[in-house]
Every structure is written in C-alpha cells, then in structure tokens.
C-alpha cells in the first residue's frame, strides 16, 4: 500500500464514521411514544384551577380564570402563528397592573416558633387590616378552592407560563389568618371546616400535578395546613365533631398526593415537548448542532433518567433511604458519540432528585409530627413522659426514613426528625 492509498483510506474511514454518527438517531422508546400518543387534557376548560392560579394576580376587576384563559389563548395563537420565540414568550406574559399584596405578611412557624393563632391574638388590628386590604386576593383564593378540575399545559413545554405562585401562597396565608381569627373567637368547628376544605384542595392539586413546581407549591400549602391544624387542635378542648375534623385533616396521604413519581415521569414529557417547540423546530437544517443533538436519543435518555428516578420515588421511605445511599451518579455512555449535546443536556436536566423525592416523604413526616402533637395534647402527656409517648408510637408515627421514634427536645419543647439528604430537620413545636 502506498502512502497515498493509506491517506485516502483514512479520509474515507473518518468521513464514513462522521456521516454515520451525524445521521444516526435511535428509535423513540415505545413507552415514551405511547405516553406521547395519549390525548392531553384540555387546559382551557371551565373550572380549571391551574388557569385560576395563573390569573390569580390579574388586575382588579377581572376574573382570575378569564385572565388565565386569555394568557393561554394568546400563547396558543402566537405558537400557531409561527411567531419568534421572544414573541411567543411575551404573548403569555402579562405584567401590567398586577394585583399585588397590600401590606406585609408575617412569617409563621419558623425558628422563632411564631404560630398563627398567637399572632392573631396579639395583633388583631394588623390581621384585620391585612384581610380587609387584600379582600380581592382572598375572594380569588376562595374561588380557587371551589374549582374541581386541574390540568396543566404540558404540551407547551418551556413556553408554558408559570403561575406566580407567590400570590397563591400569600392568598393562602391570608385565608389561614381568617381561619385563625375564627378559631380565636370560638368558631373552632367553622375554622376547622374551612381548613379541611383548604387541605382537600391542596391534596387534590398535589395528586393532579403534572410537573414538579406545582407539586412543591402544594407541599408548601399542605405543610402550612398541617401546622395550623395542629396549633388549633391544641388551643383548647375539642368537641367530637372537631376531633373528627382534625382526624380527617391529618389523615395519611395517599401515594398520588405525596409521591413525586408521577410528576417525574411527566417532567420527561414536558422536556420532550419543550425540546420540540424550542429546539427541534427552530434549529436550522444546516446547523452543525443537528449532528450531535439527536431528537429521539435525547428524548429517550431524558425519559429513562426520569423513569429511573421515579422508580426510586415509588419506594417506601425506609427502602428509599437505603437505596439512596447506594446510588452512584449516572455516567454518559457510548451514545455520546452520536448525541453528545443531548446526553450532556439529559445529564444536567435531571433535577436534584433526592431532595425532591424527599419533599414528599418530609410532608408525610410533618403529618406524623402534627398527629403526635394533637394526640399528646388530647392525652395530657406531660413533658417528662413525652419521650416514652413518642417511643410508643415509633411504628405508626416514627421517623419515615428509619422507622425509629421522632426526636424530642424537652428544652425547646419540639419534636422533629432529620432530613435525609439536606441539612436540618423537619420540626414542630408543641
């Protein structure tokens, strides 16, 4: 063989290699294809709570549902009209004359153990002012609680507007202030009935959420509900009806409510739709990125990663705690030869899954803490007998990750359990 022939052979080999790697794409995972083929629930439908949360801070005088609906219709029109990405995003973004919170909400249940009942007792004027000045926001929140449907716009991917959940959180806190005032003035039954209504709504959102952010917003709201319920329950003697309401509020979560497995799988679909709209349809045909960023391979990898994390999320908390210790970081394999950009994107797109999975287990742990607090009060457990009481309930109301009793701090009068991956613990003051 002459050097010239060797040169041509090498050139031909690498040309063939690059053409193959540049053009090759995997077949779409059949499970993913099946999921994508399922009809998506309609978003613009009467009574969709997600739309109401989207428009909760719409200008005064407009309906939150109508405002949310308008945003989605504008977005849809912009996408179908082939607008640029910047125009599509601004079509669903409305920053004019938003309904903002008037005044400042105090923070509750932090390190200083500031309960909401204690606040309304010592700050009646401030409470009344907050509720009066934010009557519009409160009314919208009440309307939200009456809605029985929930559907997120998964098919818009990254283009989907994200509700300003801060306004929803503030509205819930205002509602809790109102409930606390009711309980303080002797209307405990009415207060707990309203609290149960709030709890049921957020359990419904938690189990219906399609993506992670609304699920975590629901967890935050449920966490507030649990703490308010525990505080009201120990504020005085409860009637039989009130005890039943407390038991109903503090009933165990079902898997759909506190597990993030479902939303993790749907996040893969959300990312797929997002890539479809923002990248695959806008990449120029001649772009070199098409050689190293493959449609099916990237979607397959995202789906596989999320599915693996979802299986971990489906485990009971104690088994999860054991498996989580053994989990090594996933590495990128041979697929990076033909899909390097996609493999790296899939790797970094997977969120901090352990912390997210644990949010679901932590809310269950908080429920157990709340129930322990209520039961300890009902049974008149003195501080010196508290440890024995907690030990006796290790099996049903213990640390969700270890099955051991919760931790009792007699000085701070606090029960808690340590978080698994993050620093700190989930705490409840008695």
């Amino acid at each position: 063989m002459t050097i010239k022939r060797l040169k041509y052979a090498i050139i031909f080999f690498y040309l063939a290699l690059f053409v193959f790697l540049g053009l090759y794409d995997e077949r779409l995972n059949p499970e993913l294809a099946h999921e994508l083929a399922k009809p998506r629930p309609k978003v613009v439908e009467p009574g969709n709570a997600w739309l109401a949360m989207l428009g909760i801070d719409a200008p005064a005088g407009t309906s939150s549902v109508a405002a949310g609906e308008k945003q989605i219709r504008d977005l849809d029109r912009a996408i179908r009209g082939g607008k640029s990405t910047a125009e599509i995003i601004s079509a669903s973004f409305n920053d004019k004359n938003r309904l903002a919170l008037k005044g400042k909400l105090p923070s509750f249940y932090g390190k200083e153990n500031t309960g909401i009942l204690a606040y309304v007792t010592t700050h009646p004027d401030e409470t009344a002012t907050l509720c009066r000045d934010n009557a519009d926001l409160l009314d919208r929140y009440e309307q939200l609680l009456s809605l029985a449907r929930y559907a997120e716009p998964l098919a818009y991917g990254d283009y989907a507007p994200v509700p300003r959940f801060a306004s929803t959180n503030q509205a819930q806190e205002l509602k809790m202030l109102r409930i606390a005032v009711q309980a303080y003035h002797g209307g405990t039954t009415a207060a707990l009935t309203e609290l149960q209504r709030d709890m049921n709504y957020w359990r419904f959102v938690a189990s219906s959420s399609a993506t992670l952010i609304p699920k975590f917003i629901a967890f935050r709201a449920l966490s507030f509900d649990l703490r308010v319920a525990a505080e009201i329950a120990v504020s005085g003697a409860l009637s039989k009806r009130e005890q039943m309401l407390i038991q109903e509020i503090l009933k165990p979560f079902d898997k759909g409510e506190n597990s993030v497995a479902g939303v993790l799988r749907r996040e893969a679909l959300y990312d797929h739709y997002g890539l479809e709209l923002t990248t695959w349809n806008t990449l120029k045909p001649w772009s070199p990125a098409r050689l190293i960023f493959k449609h099916n391979a990237t979607s397959n990898r995202l789906y596989a990663y999320f599915d693996e994390v979802a299986r971990l999320a489906e485990l009971p908390p104690q088994r999860y705690a054991e498996e989580q210790k053994q989990k090594a970081m996933k590495k990128i394999g041979l697929a990076a030869l033909y899909n390097s950009m996609g493999e790296i994107l899939a790797q970094i797109a997977i969120p901090q899954c352990f912390a997210y999975i644990e949010k679901g287990h932590n809310i269950e742990g908080l429920r157990r803490l709340a129930l322990l607090k209520v039961m300890a009060h009902a049974e008149n457990i003195a501080p010196e007998r508290m440890q024995a009481f907690i030990d006796a309930h290790a099996a049903d109301l213990g640390n969700p990750y270890t099955g051991k009793p919760m931790t009792w701090d007699p000085k701070a009068r606090r029960i808690s359990f340590p978080k698994l991956s993050e620093d700190g613990s989930v705490e409840l003051y008695l």
Binding site: L6, Y14, T85, F93, T278, S287, A289, R290, G333, L334
Partner: protein, 192 residues
C-alpha cells in the same frame, strides 16, 4: 548506550531515524500521539463518562487528532520555511514532526500509566517534553539549513500561525453553531 535511547536526546540520531524509516511509521507515531493525548485526559473524563466511551473516543478520535495536527503543522512549517528561504520538503518535515516528539510521546505514556504520582513522574515528564521540543527545534534548523536566529524566527512564526488557524477554526465552528441555533435558547433564558 542503546541506539533507541539516543533518539530521546540526540537530534542527529532522530534525523537519521526519520530518514531511514518508512513514512508509515511516522503516520503510526502521529496516530499514537493523538491517542496518548486523549488518554492523558481520560481519568478526568471518567468522572462524567463511562470507561467504554472514553476508550472509544481514544481509539476512534485519538488518531484523527494526531493526523490533523501532524498534517497541518508541517504544512505551516513548510510555508513559513519557504518564505524564509528554507530547503526542507514536506515529507522531511512530516517525518521529523513524528520522530522528534518521541520523548513527548513517552512522557504522555508515563503520565497515563502512573496514576500514583511520586515526584519522579512529573520531573521525568517535564524533562522528556523539553527533549522533544529541543529535538524538533534543532532538526528544523538543520533540515531547513537555517541559522539559529532564522530557525528560531521560523519556529515561533509557525507556532503563532498554527494557533491563529486553530482559533479561526474554532471560531468558525462556534459561529456556525450559534447561527444554526436560532434565537430560541437565548430567548428562553432571558425570559422574565
């Protein structure tokens, strides 16, 4: 001293070896150097990539890296050399490029083999690299029939022009990527 050892530090021995051996051996050496460069960064790649991927990249793209660098650099050297009145042919420069950097190849091999590094390995690495550079510079001057000063100017100009070409290539590819992406990514990222 065995003849092979003299290839590490005697430029004349390197010139003789380069002329004596077939050009296929130079091709093989350049391919090997490319693989050793990738293998040297392999351990850090293993944090993010599987060993299978690292091995495949080393085997498939290492030689390509060696071929590209060893094709471009001598051509640049020849162009600069001709402008300065040099006498070397492309074939001579290509062979010298491969054989002169034998010590550097050995340095990369040591770096890949010895993961537990005592002080001997980095010192040996540094000395071998220096030998390779010295061999190459000396052989260029001899083959081009330059004076030392002219030879130094040729070598520096070649190095600078090579990096300019490299930067231009990287810039072109980056620009193509950016134009090809469209406004979607930046628009999403800058979303309020």
């Amino acid at each position: 001293m065995p003849p092979s050892i003299s290839l590490l530090y005697r430029p004349a021995a390197v010139r003789a070896k380069a002329a004596e051996c077939s050009v296929f051996s130079a091709v093989g050496l350049n391919a090997l150097y490319g693989m050793l460069i990738i293998a040297a960064v392999g351990p850090s790649m293993l944090q993010m990539f599987t060993s299978g991927f690292v091995f495949a990249v080393t085997l498939l793209f290492g030689p390509l890296l060696g071929f590209i660098v060893s094709s471009v650099y001598p051509r640049v050297e020849m162009t600069i050399g001709k402008m300065l009145g040099g006498a070397a042919t492309l074939d001579e420069l290509y062979r010298l490029f491969a054989w002169s950097f034998l010590p550097a190849g050995l340095a990369l091999l040591l770096d890949t083999m010895f993961t537990e590094k005592s002080f001997i390995v980095p010192i040996s690495f540094f000395l071998l690299i220096l030998c390779g550079i010295r061999n190459y510079c000396s052989n260029i001057i001899a083959t081009q029939q330059f004076t030392r000063v002219r030879g130094a100017v040729a070598i520096i100009l070649t190095l600078v022009l090579f990096f300019v070409l490299l930067a231009a290539g990287v810039g072109l590819i980056t620009t193509l990527f950016r134009w090809g992406m469209g406004e979607s990514v930046s628009a999403i990222v800058s979303r309020p």
